[in-house]
Symmetry: C2
Subunit: 347 residues, 2 copies
DNA sequence: TTGTATGCGTTATCAA
DNA sequence: TTGATAACGCATACAA
């Protein structure tokens, strides 16, 4: 009764049922039962069927722990993030979790809160749990110190690259994103393009600006207003910078904002000034942070860094490394343009 | 050389060192080594010291897998979320991860993508990994079907309560949050209070509205505009509803928005209409979604549902259940008021 | 084709 | 106070 399950409903996995029980039930030895269930060829078809049926009837679920002890592989990986709160870690984490089909590999989640001590702590815990590999997700796209080369398992760094070129790191393509944004504005026929962006201490801000300037230079252009407007990653800065920009340079016809937050500020001021978007000024953001971009007035064209994709690739690379094919160096994952209504061809 | 570590740097945990090596190195038996390291009393102080030192020198890290096999406890729990993307799961997940100090308990992360099949899949995987317990995090605060009573480990439901009252569920206090919002507006001296909120199919919308209406009724008040403005969880709806409200009811002095997104729309229109916030109309949001609330003009007073706290409590309740003290029923975690500048006393 | 025996790295129960 | 030895649940080399 206590183990009973009515027909149709799959019986819940019963923890106390071991391979011994299955073997006894099927009238074979433990070894044979093991072989039968693991698809080893050296077992008669009829026997295998009997064992499998026994396993099902007892709703046997092999003890992964015991298996790991023998095979020396746990089928687990550690996901060491430094900032769960940050919106960048989450998509990466989703992609990674997704790529490890749950049957094969399970993911241990650890949040180090951007604290080195805590990270060491988590690392020890993960290693003593005998994870087969590690993904280290940074909070900012700037270089971080390597966990070292002496680790007993392969490591892949995502978002924030390791400072050791022998490690394998996956990063977003901020330079390419900047180029892509400007390129799109150029295709829309814009020539007076300004770039308002965030904190210049961020590699992301520098890289996006560099990509933008490069693409402009290819057309023999300079940014409207003469320079890149560095500031902060906030709507308020987007508003302030836009006001200054409009004063200095009345004929601007496009603004590339370094983030969707900044873009919201930009749109706000343009709206206040009764400057139509996109007919008079086109606006493009960065990040594709949906709640900001999709709800903007008008909905915001922006660059998506494909973070989920980055997470998926990180998982693939880690799997490869666990199979004995480690990589190294920095691999860049391209972003993509997401067009909404804040940009359009001139006229 | 290959194992070498220069003084100062902690040697990396060496996977291949087993208790046997430590014992041999210290000149004792495996059994004694085990006792010494685990703080068992029946071992001479000097011996213990020798063993500990040996363990350190070899940078021994006990194999958790082997320990689990004996103790029948893995020190792991499964975190089964139905929607990683959703912004509600993340704080809960953070709180839970935080509450299980990483040394004691590690967390397996699984995203079922709100799909029952996938959930079953993950569940099987987690059980075969012999997790000691499960936290099930829902995507919406509406009731979900129980995983059943036949599971071999305790389960705690977070955010979305189980439909089986014998399970233990933790939920946010939407009714209380609604009361709290209106109460704050009343304290600010407002009497003509409107409520604009989201999709009426969401329990969250209904509950917040109920709390608001209850509190209003206690003062003998009705909502401004005569009724609650249900609609959608979007800025656009916030804008549209506000325009309608202002037409129907010119003397409104406060608006309670059912979400921060809606509140942003409300603020937008008030700004367009040159209606000052908060001096003429106070606005309060819901969720404390920082990027929206903190960047609003003016920064938005709102209700925080304490999701991280909810996650922490979920972890605590699960720990208790794993210790043999299971709970049941639905436990409500109160929210809190976060005051910013969009509300202030009248005059 | 099947079964016996051994071991994975630990903890726990005994004797010594 | 210490040390053999038997588990834990399973996989595999080897013997039958």
């Amino acid at each position: 009764m206590s183990r009973g399950s009515t027909a149709g409903e799959p019986a819940p996995a019963n923890r106390n049922v071991t391979l011994r029980d299955v073997a006894r039930f099927a009238g074979v030895s433990v070894a044979t039962a093991s072989k039968a269930l693991n698809g080893q060829p050296q077992v008669r078809a009829e026997t295998r069927a009997r064992v499998i049926q026994a396993a099902e009837q007892l709703s046997f679920s092999p003890n992964t722990i015991a298996q790991s002890l023998i095979t020396q592989r746990t089928g687990t990986v550690g996901l060491l993030t430094s900032d769960l709160e940050g919106r960048f870690s989450i998509p990466i984490l989703m992609g990674a979790e997704d790529a490890f089909g749950s049957d094969q590999t399970s993911v241990f989640l650890c949040d180090a809160r951007d604290d080195a001590i805590r990270e060491k702590h988590h690392l020890r815990a993960l290693l003593s749990r005998r994870v087969d590999g590690l993904i280290v997700v940074g909070a900012r796209p700037d270089t971080r110190t390597s966990l070292g080369r002496e680790l007993p398992v392969p490591v892949v760094y995502a978002y924030a690259p390791s400072d050791d070129p022998r490690d394998l790191s996956l990063v977003t393509d901020n330079v390419g994103g900047g180029r892509m944004a400007v390129d799109h504005l150029l295709r829309c026929g814009r020539r007076r393009i300004a770039h308002i962006t965030g904190d210049p201490d961020y590699g992301a801000a520098q890289d996006r600006a560099r990509g933008a300037l490069e693409r402009l230079a290819e057309e023999g252009l300079e940014p409207a207003g003469g320079e890149v407007w560095f500031g902060m990653w906030s709507e308020a800065w987007g508003r302030g910078a836009t006001r200054m920009l409009l004063e200095r340079c009345t004929d601007v016809d496009a603004i590339f904002a370094g983030s969707d937050e900044i873009a919201r500020g930009v749109l706000d001021v343009l709206h206040e000034e009764r400057i139509d978007v996109p007919s008079r000024v086109a606006v493009i953001g960065f990040d594709n942070w949906k709640v900001l971009a999709a709800n903007a007035r008008p909905p915001l064209t922006t660059i998506d860094l494909n973070l989920e994709q980055l997470g998926r690739i990180a998982a693939q690379r880690l799997s490869a490394a666990m199979e004995g094919n480690p990589g190294s160096g920095v691999e860049t994952v391209p972003g993509r343009l997401v067009t909404r209504e804040s940009t359009a061809p001139l006229r």
